[in-house]
Symmetry: none
Subunit: 202 residues, 4 copies
């Protein structure tokens, strides 16, 4: 009683294999086998292996963004929203491990357009926007929002990887709260200095 269509089965199989061994090392034959279909059938649903990769990048990135959005909800406060987004990275890493690995470990040469992934309609944008707003509202100290996004996303991703490799002693909850706390410190606005004695930036 398969609820999934053949096309979905192919996408699933490909995603898993791409994550496991990398895009190049995964063969169309393996993908077809794991999707329990004929190799030729793959070309009825996709233009070729490249198309499969492209499609997967888009859907997994969108799925990632969806998880982040769901986690952030309509939270308005930049600090709370940012923390929810970070939590979302962990959630996604756990609920979609293959997608997480695929998005992270694919060689740049396979990524359709680097800028898009980072700044396009996809995941990173949510961070950048939140940080931009937080800085302008004074909730965060002034930093380049793209750089700060890079820092925070990289931190969370690395935390997921280290946890997955069994290199961290703490449990899941603790790792997340530690990483959230770290991001808080990273962006915390400095306490307002006594009037008339502010720092000189020049």
């Amino acid at each position: 009683m398969a609820r999934t269509t053949k096309k979905e089965a192919i996408l699933d199989a490909a995603l898993t294999l791409f994550a496991e061994k990398g895009v190049d090392a995964a063969t169309t034959r393996e993908i077809a086998e794991r999707a329990d279909t004929a190799e030729g059938n793959l070309y009825r649903h996709f233009e070729g292996k490249d198309d499969l990769v492209r499609t997967l990048f888009e859907t997994t990135a969108r799925r990632f963004a969806d998880v982040l959005k769901a986690e952030a909800g309509d939270e308005d406060d930049p600090r709370a929203r940012l923390e929810a987004l970070i939590q979302g990275i962990f959630t996604f890493g756990e609920s979609h491990p293959a997608a997480f690995q695929f998005l992270l470990a694919s060689h740049p040469s396979h990524i359709p357009k680097d800028r898009d992934l980072l700044l396009g309609p996809y995941p990173m944008r949510l961070f950048v926007e939140t940080i931009v707003r937080g800085v302008s509202q004074g909730a965060f100290r002034p930093v380049d929002p793209v750089l700060a996004t890079g820092w925070i996303v990289a931190m969370a991703q690395r935390a997921v990887l280290l946890a997955r490799m069994g290199l961290l002693a703490d449990d899941r909850e603790r790792i997340i709260s530690e990483t959230v706390e770290a991001s808080r410190r990273l962006l915390a606005a400095d306490p307002a200095p006594p009037v008339g004695e502010g720092p000189h930036d020049d």
Copy 2:
């Protein structure tokens, strides 16, 4: 009377190509061509492509560690030492761009032994040791040193990548000092609370 041996030429060519297009996409033919040698000669110096990858991992990781050590010198203060190490990541990213890219972007399935790269005799260990010492001396707040190493290294690496992709407005110096400052905030020990009024942790 070339100063470089053929073996070195092969390693160089392979490193560049592996970094550019990924290990799988780089062919032995390309490598040989770029090294200006016959394809077969590659197999006199290495057991095969895999051996080439393994060798490169080891030498580039070691080279990375050497740059970090050189940058840190015999600095003893954990704070200063950590900052020097971070500076080292940028230095290495600039002086050995192909090695940097290769170490970062190779698919895990090509990495000989993940644990070794992170905790073995190689780069990451320098960070972990420094943080352990800093925490025990009270210079840093108490954190899991492996997790903190992950954060900081990931931050710096991502900063190098973003800069390389032209996504950052600031100049090199500024990006480095920002990233160093970020790591400082990440690990800064909290000010000692007034006696008798400390926070309750339970």
Copy 3:
């Protein structure tokens, strides 16, 4: 609408070439060419060249055994049966010259399991069984049946080879009858000695 499948064509081509030039000297390219197919197709039907060799050993040995069985029919008398089996070696050598050559001239290092070919479910067993029976019935003189099988099979095979090389003056029929006669003399039971005057076997 060829009656033969591509797989059979490949096996045929390989057998011929293996017999002609030896397993090592026959290339997959030649095999594919002679089978009128693409080289890659060879690897859909077989795991590799080794698999091809293995498969051919099994099928040709079985085919050899089949010819022997057909020739021996349900003949019960050990003498008659043995002579039919010897006749079978010649028949096989003529009807399947490539298979005959392949079985004979392949280097031991290519033979999957020497014992099997000689004593396993295959050709030689038929001889051994017949000789065992003949000895126990007193039709043959007492000899090690394995050794006797070796003698007889080797004799017949060598006769086929010498004939094929044009070194024998006699015609086919004569060579066969001579060889059969030779085997008869080889195994003939000694005439019962007059009672009381027999040789002492100590």
Copy 4:
């Protein structure tokens, strides 16, 4: 304190490897390694691999003939001489196992000239000559001497192989005496029939 020259070391190494894995499967690199010399040096002593094969065929065939001659001595009686020659096959098989295997198992395509090996100045000729003489003297029954040589040599060779494979229960001495006895029966002249009662051949 090597008594052997480099050239001899190369011949030895090649013979062993050719016997073990076949001419094609043995590489010049292996041969050089086993001879403890440089690969290139092989080409100082021989024109190439083919020359090595040719040389080995000649020397091993000659060595085989020498063993046979030594065994036969100046024995004049055809029966005794033939039995000594058969004994010689076993002697050679034991004293020069690699040479024995090399002469036997090399693919025909590597054998310089089949006729020469069988009938030329080499081993087989000794058998043919002895049998021709034995037949003309009435010591042996009338048979094609080439065919009879083939039978007897094949029998002895096969006996050596079976013994080497551990398929024979009897000990060395017994196997030899059995094989000699077999050849005796093979060629024994029929008892002269009473005058006027000769056999009818039709």
